[in-house]
């Protein structure tokens, strides 16, 4: 399991959730709020997929943030 922490000042919740939705067929996600962060925990059968999805999630969330958080 890899954890990615998205600060709510920098990533709107809709952008994080939108990114998770795009990748949900490639891995399992647990999404919780912890303080100032929207925390996403990524799990996949293969470690390399888990890592790749966790990392790509950040890029996608950034893209959605720039677009206004909408998918």
């Amino acid at each position: 399991m890899i954890e990615r922490r998205f600060h709510r000042d920098l990533y709107p919740t809709a952008a994080v959730d939108g990114a998770v939705k795009v990748f949900e067929r490639f891995a399992r996600f647990e999404v919780v709020d912890e303080g100032d962060y929207r925390v996403v925990r990524v799990s996949a059968k293969r470690p390399e997929r888990e890592r790749k999805v966790a990392l790509e999630l950040g890029n996608y969330a950034l893209g959605l943030t720039r677009q206004g958080g909408l998918s």
Binding site: L10, N59, T65
Partner: protein, 172 residues
């Protein structure tokens, strides 16, 4: 540590192939951070964070994995330059908004063969009365550089803060 960068501003991780830069949010607007970070997403994994109030950190991780010190340094340097460019560009666009919008409108109207009716034009500029007070000078042409950018004395700053608002800056 990255050569040429203060330790508290940029840190590299050779094994991860990543560099983390911390920028002052008062100096670089968030939009500039987004814009600069975004241009790296084809070759890096990008993550932003707020390590403390007033700061934004940007972690760039090379998609190719482990990197050498020189490539991390160049990545950090390119990000810093892009960040400056984006921050400055926001100000430039704001200051030059009239000319940019005028030219864009004219270009698109010309291309679409639509008459430009209510948008400001160069003819409007020609008929503009430059003898008017700078209060009604939206282009700031009659205003000297000093007037526009001079540092305010504490008295002036306090006076402005207690006033009810400045010029409307109506566009021609």
């Amino acid at each position: 540590m990255l050569d040429g960068f203060p330790k508290d501003l940029a840190v590299g991780d050779l094994a991860e192939g990543s560099v983390t830069l911390t920028v002052d949010a008062a100096v670089y607007p968030l939009e500039a951070v987004y814009g600069a970070a975004y241009i790296f997403i084809d070759r890096c994994f990008v993550l932003l964070d707020r390590p403390k109030a007033g700061s934004v950190s940007v972690t760039l991780t090379d998609k190719k994995g482990a990197a050498d010190a020189d490539s991390l340094r160049r990545m950090a340097g390119e990000f810093a330059n892009e960040l400056l460019t984006q921050a400055w560009r926001q100000k430039i666009v704001e200051e030059n908004r009239v000319i940019l919008e005028t030219v864009t409108t004219q270009a698109l109207a010309g291309a679409a063969a639509r008459p430009v009716s209510s948008e400001p034009s160069l003819d409007d500029l020609a008929s503009f009365d430059f003898t008017e007070e700078s209060f009604d000078d939206p282009l700031g042409i009659a205003m000297s550089w000093e007037e526009k950018y001079k540092k305010k004395t504490p008295t002036e700053a306090a006076g402005e803060a207690s006033s009810e608002g400045g010029a409307s800056g109506a566009k021609p």
